[in-house]
């Protein structure tokens, strides 16, 4: 009996140890994702996690140039912008076909935007399309001829091109939408470097090389995206050789991978800013000196180095440096200077009144919000401000912050990741963007000059001219301090050392077109 048991155990042991020792096969890349994709219809989704798959299946008319947030041709070879900035004419690439064999042409482009924007379009019901407002300035799309398409805008809107480079602007196969209807999101067809092979719910999404890719076939035969929601499990999979690429590595674990030559750690700062919204309408932060004092009182370097363990950089203003062309290099982050903060508080006549601080438990781009909130509370208390923290779950938190802080709180954590330097300030720093007007200016910051600069920057199509306006805006906002500018997140990923040509992009999209794994 005992001998039999031993034999059984030994044979089970051997079968399993052979299986588990197998590594991921060559030319197949296994990517550890943070969640199951919601849909693979690029017009129907909002999460970066989904974008990582989509940008490899689809192309847009334009895309971000490697390593930048500047736009370059993709499915459109070239374009012209009319004098008044209201007409964009794109010349399309010839001979491109979708993975289902149907041709990519001007009619296909028109179908894509009409489906999203026209409520009477026969396939509008395949939505909803939550980010369609990216193109709300589009009045009409016309297929001029087979390879020319014209967009008429209702008003000049400079971020239009970079919005086209966003996943919401990726081009889907009209025939596939007609065929699959509402289920297109599970049967995606694009023109990209990889074509869709299969999706097993909560296990994997598989894409394979598109041999006929117009920009040169990819070196990899296939990519497998695996959703693993628990960060610890994701790390365990990476360590045990079940993954080739892992994104969003928790700061605590990066060190472990750094010291191991089986892995390569990748980092890239992105268009992300982590800040505190200050209530400029009522309470102590209505006074500019108190807002500046908060900026001086908080030790951002300590937050970034100790809590975030180097996975972010100290922010110097409302615009992240990843927008290289629009970023004002001359701004230095507010120094950590508790003495100056105390002096400013005294000058402002701050009477020790308690301030309420909204902290979230988690949420998109929020990094380590509870630990950061606690450290910020301690820093403010050190200069004599009494801070009361109220913590909420992310959706509840948004429900409290987005309608405005008036009468409820004095400060709140917030983070944004955008694709154009226009988006965040336009939605969160203009006086026309107060919550009751449908914006995100939850702290009621108002400065006429900032309003004017931001409105003007939307209408100018010349990039150098726009850059000047944004730089001026950053200086004013820096001085007025409607926010405490805290951190710009660096996206990270760990790859196995077998992976070649892997590069993170400032857009935070996972471009795998050139990646190899022999």
């Amino acid at each position: 009996m005992k001998r039999l048991l031993a034999a059984v155990i030994a044979s089970v042991w051997m079968t399993f140890s052979f299986q588990a020792a197998a590594q991921t096969p060559p030319n197949v890349l296994v990517v550890g994702q943070i969640a199951e994709p919601k849909s693979l219809d690029p017009h129907a989704v909002t999460a970066v996690n989904d974008f990582r798959i989509l940008v490899n299946i689809y192309d847009g008319l334009v895309r971000y140039k490697d390593g930048t947030l500047e736009v370059e041709p993709s499915l459109a070879e070239s374009w012209e912008i009319s004098e008044d900035g209201k007409t964009y004419t794109f010349k399309l690439r010839d001979g491109v076909t979708f993975h289902d064999g149907t041709p990519f042409n001007a009619e296909a482009v028109k179908f894509n935007f009409d489906r999203m924007l026209d409520e009477n379009h026969p396939f509008h019901d395949t939505g909803p399309f939550p980010l369609s407002f990216f193109f709300s300035a589009v009045d009409e799309v016309t297929a001029v001829d087979e390879s020319t398409v014209e967009f008429k805008l209702t008003e000049p809107y400079a971020p239009f091109l970079s919005n086209l480079a966003y996943p919401t602007g990726l081009i889907v196969s009209p025939e596939a939408v007609k065929q699959h209807g509402k289920d297109f999101g599970r049967n995606p067809v694009g023109t990209g470097a990889y074509k869709f092979e299969g999706w097993e719910a909560n296990a994997k999404v598989v894409v394979s090389r598109n041999e006929a890719y117009w920009d040169g076939a990819a070196p990899l035969e296939a990519v497998i995206f695996r959703p693993i929601t628990d960060a610890n499990t994701r790390i365990a999979e990476m360590l045990s050789g079940g993954l080739d690429v892992m994104v969003e590595v928790p700061p605590d674990s990066l060190q472990q991978f750094r010291g191991d030559d089986r892995f390569v750690v990748q980092e890239q700062a992105g268009p992300h800013v982590w800040f505190l919204i200050l209530n400029t309408k009522d309470g102590p932060f209505a006074n500019k000196a108190v807002r500046q004092a908060a900026n001086y009182a908080i030790n951002k370097t300590a937050l970034v180095e100790n809590i975030l363990q180097g996975t972010a950089e100290v922010a110097s203003g409302p615009t992240p440096p990843a927008f290289a062309w629009a970023y004002n290099e001359s701004l230095e982050p507010y120094a950590y200077d508790p003495e100056k903060a105390k002096a400013l508080l005294k000058e402002a006549g701050y009477n020790g009144e308690e301030v309420t601080f909204y902290v979230t438990e988690g949420g998109s781009g929020m990094l380590d919000p509870v630990a950061m909130g606690t450290a910020i509370q301690a820093d403010l208390q050190a200069v004599g401000m009494k801070v009361k923290i109220e913590t909420y779950e992310w959706n509840t938190f948004l429900g409290k912050v987005n309608p405005g802080l008036e009468g409820k709180a004095d400060m709140a954590e917030m983070a944004w990741m955008t694709n154009d330097p226009d988006t965040l300030p336009f939605l969160a720093l203009r006086s026309e963007a107060f919550p009751d007007k449908g914006g995100f200016n939850s702290g009621y910051y108002a400065n006429e000059k900032v309003d004017e600069l931001l409105n003007k920057a939307r209408q100018v199509t010349d990039q150098a001219e726009r850059a000047k306006l944004y730089k001026q805006m950053q200086e004013i906002v820096y001085e007025d301090a409607p926010w405490v500018f805290v951190a710009n997140w660096k996206q990270n990923a760990v790859t196995s050392s077998r992976v070649e040509n892997f590069k993170l992009q400032p857009s935070f999209f996972l471009m795998l077109q050139k990646v190899a794994k022999p």
């Binding site: 042991w13 079968t15 399993f16 140890s17 299986q19 588990a20 020792a21 991921t24 096969p25 197949v28 296994v30 969640a35 199951e36 919601k38 849909s39 219809d41 909002t46 999460a47 939505g127 909803p128 939550p130 980010l131 407002f133 509402k182 289920d183 999101g185 599970r186 719910a201 909560n202 296990a203 497998i224 695996r226 959703p227 693993i228 929601t229 628990d230 610890n232 499990t233 365990a236 999979e237 360590l239 045990s240 050789g241 079940g242 998109s364 779950e393 992310w394 959706n395 509840t396 948004l398 429900g399 409290k400 987005n402 309608p403 944004w416 990741m417 919550p435 449908g438 914006g439 995100f440």
Partner: protein, 314 residues
Amino acid sequence: MAGYILKRLIAAIPVLFGLTIIVFLIMAMIPGDTATAILGSYATPENVEKLNRDLGLDKSLPQQYFIWLGNLLQGDMGRSYSLNRPVLDEVVERFSATMILAGTSLVLCSIFGLLAGVVSAVRQFGWTDKIITFLVLIGISTPSFWLGLLLILAFAVKLQLFPASGMFAIYGGGDLPDLIHHLVLPALTLSVVATGVIARLTRTSMLEVLRQDYIRTARAKGLAERKVIAKHAFKAALVNVIPVIGIQAGFVMGGAVYIETVFQWPGIGSMLVTAISTRDLLLVQGGVLFVAAAYVLFNLAADVVQTMLDPRLR
């Protein structure tokens, strides 16, 4: 017996309906709505309103509930907002995965629990009893998600004997040995607490039975000790343990929520966690309905088995 089962099943229907109303109300009461969850930072009032209209969430609560109920009675559980696919497809797929995991754990914890309980009762106050009781105490008090992580660290990362996560291999695999290979760690983790509970109860119940007069009679008439334990004592003790196994079935399904998240098991527990955080009402409703129905059925099965074993209950 058939009449009894039918009566119990009919009695379960109002319970399940009541449950759907409660879930519906709770989901309506927790702050944050579906559209905000989908739009994230882009949730302007204008965008939220438009998206709610597109999703059919602009109707009044009772209206929404009755539309859902009407569709349910026709076998349609609606379409998940967050997954963009029919709720029924998703729930059935996820539920089967959970049943495989929970079912295996239940078998494991019943076998180990009963075995440990009987052995430790028979050897009361001996070394075996002390060791088993100690292990059981540790088992009951170990947080299962933590144990899961430790097992992953030991058996997947260090020894590389078992995969760290998932239900099937990512390439190849997909057959029964592959499934068993993936099942070992999560099923063990999930069964630990329930094993402890069952072992303790079996021990108590056995001790009680062993003190009965008829056991003394059995021994007095010269029956082998092994027979006394197996035939007379164990069978009587089992009657008390069966309903607890039924209840443990419910706990195992509840525990699956953590374990599925830790091991990335594509079951209904991890589905519900995601569905709640994305405020995907229809998916939550569908999932809870399945889990509740399963719970009712487990308890019913336990009661039926108990009645069959115990002539006194008939």
